[in-house]
Symmetry: C2
Subunit: 265 residues, 2 copies
């Protein structure tokens, strides 16, 4: 029996921070037919609110440290402010959204990061995704909207990277669903020429990835994203589109001039 299709979309700060991008995107998202899940990142509003509250960002080697005060802010902002604004906007578009952190219904269990040199603070690395309860919610015709927060099962909330959450969810849901994962970012796709938004590679096979790294097409900030994609494809995710959030409906309509589609074979 063929699996039911599920569309999983990850959006980041480039959409969340700009109402003029966010609301049109949510309108598009609401129109995606069938089962769907939205994962959102953080955005600049957390930094703004931290600064309003007089909390100085703690950085070590250019990486943000989630100290206790910052954890409170991200729990409020990601789990409360952003998540509920997105849910309310989707409900207004007749999308049956249900906002969740990883603690809710124990959907994402994580472990506080242990690093030999850097104390990242309250940052969690994903240990397990509860695909069963997510499947129950999705088959009840609900659309999970997931904030980048997890818990350790001992009562501690943890801050977790939204890209990782999205790919781990895509993997876990692939046992039940035929997952099409839209990994949205600020570019139109994987570019042959990083300065030319019209140089999108339309299709990349898993076996193309290493050669594309070797020839310098996949460089710098694209490397962790593409590694995430390769990991998800190897773990059974059917299709991954690396694209701009504004192009999702065009991609779903079969317009191959938008986004880069990554497939396992």
């Amino acid at each position: 029996m063929s699996k039911q299709r599920l569309t999983l979309v990850k959006i980041g700060g480039n959409i969340i921070d700009h109402p003029e991008s966010l609301f049109p995107f949510l309108s598009d998202f609401a129109q995606i037919p069938g089962a769907k899940v939205l994962v959102h990142g953080g955005g600049k509003v957390a930094s703004q609110i931290s600064s309003d509250m007089g909390i100085t960002p703690k950085m070590v080697d250019g990486r943000r440290i989630t100290d206790a005060k910052t954890l409170r802010v991200v729990t409020m902002v990601y789990g409360g402010l952003i998540n509920k604004q997105v849910v309310a906007a989707l409900q207004a578009k007749n999308c049956p959204a249900i906002g969740l952190s990883g603690a809710d219904a124990n959907i994402i269990l994580s472990k506080k990061r242990q690093h030999p040199e850097i104390d990242f603070g309250f940052v969690g690395d994903v240990v397990a995704v509860n695909a069963e309860v997510l499947t129950t919610l999705i088959t009840a015709n609900l659309c999970p909207v997931i904030a980048p927060l997890t818990h350790d099962g001992q009562g501690q909330m943890l801050n977790t990277n939204a890209d990782t959450i999205a790919s781990e969810l895509a993997i876990a849901l692939s046992s039940t669903f035929d997952v099409h994962f839209f990994y949205c970012f600020e570019k139109k796709g994987l570019l042959m020429d990083v300065n030319d938004n019209n140089s999108v590679l339309p299709k990349v096979h898993l076996h193309d990835i290493e050669p594309l790294k070797a020839n310098g097409t996949i460089v710098a900030g694209m490397i962790p994203k593409v590694d995430n994609i390769a990991h998800a494809l190897r773990a059974g995710v059917h299709t991954i589109s690396l694209c701009h959030a504004e192009d999702i409906l065009d991609i779903l309509a079969g317009n191959s001039s938008f986004g880069t589609i990554f497939v396992a074979e």
Copy 2:
């Protein structure tokens, strides 16, 4: 066929604001057998964070006005910080908590309050409770943990009184469940003598309420609470205990020396 029993508990600031009360309560709550729902209020942390952010509380005739900035704070604090801390703590006690605002899964639709003289701002009065989706969650063995926030169906979050949310949920769930509603507050129950915590009236029938108002036993701040209780009993809620949160397990164990039990007949 007899209905399944459901325990619905409402806690307020006297518990939420004090970790030394909150965590023992959550430990007790996790031990309540069968289907259950927790509704939490706001607490002082929202005022503290507003003040940290330099937001001055707006009051009209002694009532707090929810302006746009305050709505952002309560959405963050009630829907994010408090809700997720409670959920994570319950998960650690093996209680399958799922934190929700009224916007999530459209569980509580409200309408912005219209008042001839006072503009309360972003305050919502409950219009409809989606008992069907709550029943789906509860029968999937999840325990809804509900923040005092609703939405208007047009994309707007609204601030809503937690007591009202709790009684409206108790009423809506009574069509499917045999609801025992624990309405927790800072006293041990309805007191014959307001200065004596040992003067708890053990049992009150619906028809006793008006005489108890007439003879001055139910006065001042107790009046809206008891009116809420009377409304819920008339609308089909089976049993309501007005009590202190620390006494719930004793009351469930049948110890009649704790709390006031309100029954319709």
